[in-house]
Amino acid sequence: MPQLKYCYKTGVTFTEKVYIHHFLLRILPFENEAQRAVEKSRYEILPKAKVCVGFDAFGNKIITGYIDEKHDFFEFLSEGTMETYEYKIRDPHLNRLYLYPSKLTKPAVRIREIHDRLHVLPEISTADKVAAISQAVASLLRYEPGVTGIDTTAEEALSLGCGVCQDFSHLMISFCRLNGIPARYAAGFIEGEGFSHAWVEYYSDGWWYAFDPTHNRPVETAYIKIAQGRDYADCPLDKGVFRGLAQQQLDVSVKTEQ
Amino acid sequence: MESTKKNDGISSVKAGRLYWMGRYAERVYHALHLLRKHYDRMIDEEPNAYKDFCFKMGIADQYTSAENFIESYLYDSENPDSIINMLEHLNDNAILLREEIKSETLSYIQLAINYMKSSKMKGKGLGGLQYITDCMLALWGSVDERIFTRQVRHIILFGKFVECIDLHIRFDYSLDRINNLYDRLKECFYGDYELFDEVQFYAFEKQLNIYNYKDSKTLAFLNNIFKA
């Protein structure tokens, strides 16, 4: 099965020195049936911080940390090698949460109208329904970076008619849930991308499967998941607060190769 | 049954507010006192005594006449040096300290500000401001009576005495008087050795005892003694 070597780097530079900096990162891959570490994944954070690793409410591994003294840069790195398998994750106790609207996926007038028009046939398989939904999303959204933001809802992206992988995923999740298919947001790495990627996981008969609406294709393997939630708002990859008046400059790079 | 637990805590920012509350309250009281002394000279002896006041206070003399000075220095909220502005700064600090100084103490500041605003409307001038002085003295009384936590009271008094000494030095009071106040200042941080900057403190003391206290460096050291 495909092995992927990943390296996720983020560098933040501040225009002025900042201090009392608290941060929370979701940068470590899951360990499940679809992906296992070949070499132990490692991470690095600079400047040196007091850190603690734990889990959040959605099962994501989180790194919380704190830097007291003044600094004008912040870098973190996560790398390792994962062996990926068929994307099928067992979950005997579905969290019912994933059936219902969430902040960024809440359907309003437009989404509901399209859902009504879509007429997803109830008797076809879940996998086929999901594929039909992805097809619909592909026809409704144009891939265009720089228009939507991290706060953009599915409804807003739909009226704009464009977005990035986050928006494609949110819109797809919204339709899945309207059709009674439990769905959740997944983020992580795929081969070659310069940034992290987002896709959709859907639940059927005790298993979570995945679909990539941005590329309009089912996910077979070779996707490394590092975060999941109802939508992006539940699991941003990095969050921080600090003291000091400074502008931030973000530099993100992801390198994934077989 | 009442709870006996004490919830005492002073953050660095709160300490700063207490200190500045003390300074502004003293500034209002003392500025009015000095103003009356100068105003008395302005009646017949020296109509321009207000210029001397400005010079000693270290504020810009931007006034066109004695009348303009009195009007503006008392009531003009656009004038950063005015008494009404001192009261507002005092209030800005005190209103964030209600739970420490108690509503009663805070109320004297509100009364002073209300009176100041109405006095302006009635064109009362300096003569009608005894009430402000009364409020400030009541404020100190209330600080004494209503604040039970020693450290809180002492930080406010620390500010009061720093301001008081500052003005005494500026306005040529005798070294005796200043030393008296200095003893009272020391009482405020006895035991709280980290509330003051030792270097500045000893430098200030030297200026009083050895060197010339009228040197401008004295004020610089004095104003940097408090550290929280």
Binding site: A108, V241 | E2, K6, N7, V13, I95, E99
Partner: protein
């Protein structure tokens, strides 16, 4: 019915208002982005609640708040009320106040809503109805408390002739509640967002009277999952209970949405580890959601096995088919409320709509039934307020405060708010208007 004498209070209102001014009894409003603080207008005529009415209200409130607290525990644990079919799971999971992070977390002493603000109105036929439950950050008790303090000082005779319950004990009840849930005998603090919050007067006044520390976000730090107050000399003192006047969204910038600096990073962790009590707990929004309101009387039956003493205003949920039919047919005489958070349609009265508007609203209801709640319009009793020298009538409501500690204590008073605009049915502190003291008469 006792005759209550308050004419003296009307005569002495200028003196009372001077004292209010002196003590800075203010409320702030943001208008066009500018913060404007003014004295909260106080009307001298008290709202009178007869002892007979109070007995019923008090029992009803205790029952309601007890049930709501049990509901909150249940929702964040086994969800028995959902499994037993009383409340559809959708109402829980779609509620914006539902916080998945709170699943399985049990707050200190199992109490979620320590301070519950239950808004009541009285119908012209005398029946009391609950308009709304506020279990997150209900505010306003400090105003009648200080008003009573002042009116007793200015007009002692009034309180000799009328026998009513003293309400100046609110801060003592608050303190008692905080003492009860305090973890490890730590410091007790009120966490305020700061000077420019509408109810800042209340934050500082309650801290003064309850004898607790007033803290700002910068004063607190979480280390090793415990909360500390940063004092002088790098001193860190353990905090045991925080009465927070900041909403969930802003309380922990690392866990919940906002990256704002009003909150304390990692506070949620400290709370979920049981190292600090948060008053009111995280996640209460799922219980005071306008959609959940409909089910509260059923909660009383389910958790307490009793019939609810206090009635809800007759309410219909278009989510349920029979209710939806009823609502669409009777829209012109109902009031429709948008359950969705800020930016929604708010409150709309059917009787103010023309045929076109009615058709539009019907469509909205059909498309998103979960979003709407409809109620009969209650003709509430207007109260007299002084307008210059005349007495005029205005709409008003009553916010009762229930404190849940070792026991459930109902404060023998309440915040009565009235509208300024004679034609307005919406009583809300941020829309202008003023307040009255609320007198609960003792048994004669």
């Amino acid at each position: 019915m006792e005759v209550v004498m308050y004419e003296l209070l009307i005569k002495q209102r200028d003196t009372v208002n001077k004292w209010m001014d002196r003590f800075g009894v203010r409320f702030g409003i943001y208008k066009n982005g500018v913060f404007n603080e003014q004295l909260f207008p106080f009307d001298p005529i008290p709202r009178i609640i007869t002892n007979e009415d109070w007995v019923e209200i008090e029992t009803g409130l205790k029952q309601r708040v007890l049930a709501l607290n049990k509901f909150l525990y249940d929702i964040y644990h086994e969800k028995k009320i959902v499994k037993d079919g009383v409340i559809p799971e959708e109402f829980i999971y779609s509620s914006s106040g539902y916080l998945p992070q709170c699943e399985g977390v049990t707050p200190s002493k199992n109490i979620y809503s320590h301070i519950s603000g239950i808004d009541l109105v009285q119908n012209k036929d005398g029946t009391w109805y609950v308009l709304e439950d506020n279990l997150r950050i209900p505010s306003g008790a400090s105003y009648p408390m200080i008003a009573r303090s002042i009116t007793r000082k200015v007009s002692p005779e009034t309180f000799k002739t009328n026998i009513l319950y003293d309400n100046r004990n609110y801060s003592a009840l608050l303190r008692k509640t905080m003492d009860y849930v305090n973890v490890d005998n730590g410091l007790e603090v009120i966490l305020t967002p700061g000077r420019y919050n509408s109810a800042y007067f209340e934050h500082s006044y309650l801290a003064e009277k309850a004898g607790v520390l007033l803290a700002y976000a910068d004063d607190l730090i979480v280390e090793d999952d415990k909360v500390y107050y940063k004092g002088l000399y790098d001193k860190k003192e353990r905090v045991g209970v925080i009465y927070r006047r900041i909403s969930d969204d802003f309380l922990d910038p690392l866990v919940f949405e906002s990256g704002s600096l009003l909150g304390v990073p990692n506070l949620f962790r400290a709370y979920s580890e049981g190292n600090v009590a948060i008053v009111n707990a995280f996640g209460n929004g799922v219980a005071d959601d306008k959609g959940i309101y409909y089910f509260v009387p059923k909660m009383v039956e389910y958790y307490l096995g009793e019939k609810a003493i206090l009635k809800n205003a007759p309410t219909y949920l278009p989510y349920f088919e029979e209710d939806q039919t009823f609502v669409l047919e009777n829209l012109s005489r109902l009031v429709i409320k948008d359950v969705a958070e800020a930016g929604g349609y708010g409150v709309m009265f059917g009787r103010d709509m023309d045929d076109i508007r009615l058709a539009e609203v019907r469509k909205l209801v059909e498309i998103e039934p979960r979003r709407w709640i409809a109620q009969e319009v209650i003709d509430f009793i207007d109260l007299e307020i002084m307008d210059g020298e005349k007495k005029v009538l205005r709409k008003s409501d009553l916010r009762a405060f229930v404190l849940s500690g070792e026991d459930t204590m109902v404060w023998p008073s309440g915040l009565t708010r009235y509208t300024r605009n004679p034609h307005s049915f919406i009583v809300n502190s941020s829309q202008g208007g003023g307040f009255k003291d609320t007198w609960v008469m003792k048994k004669q």
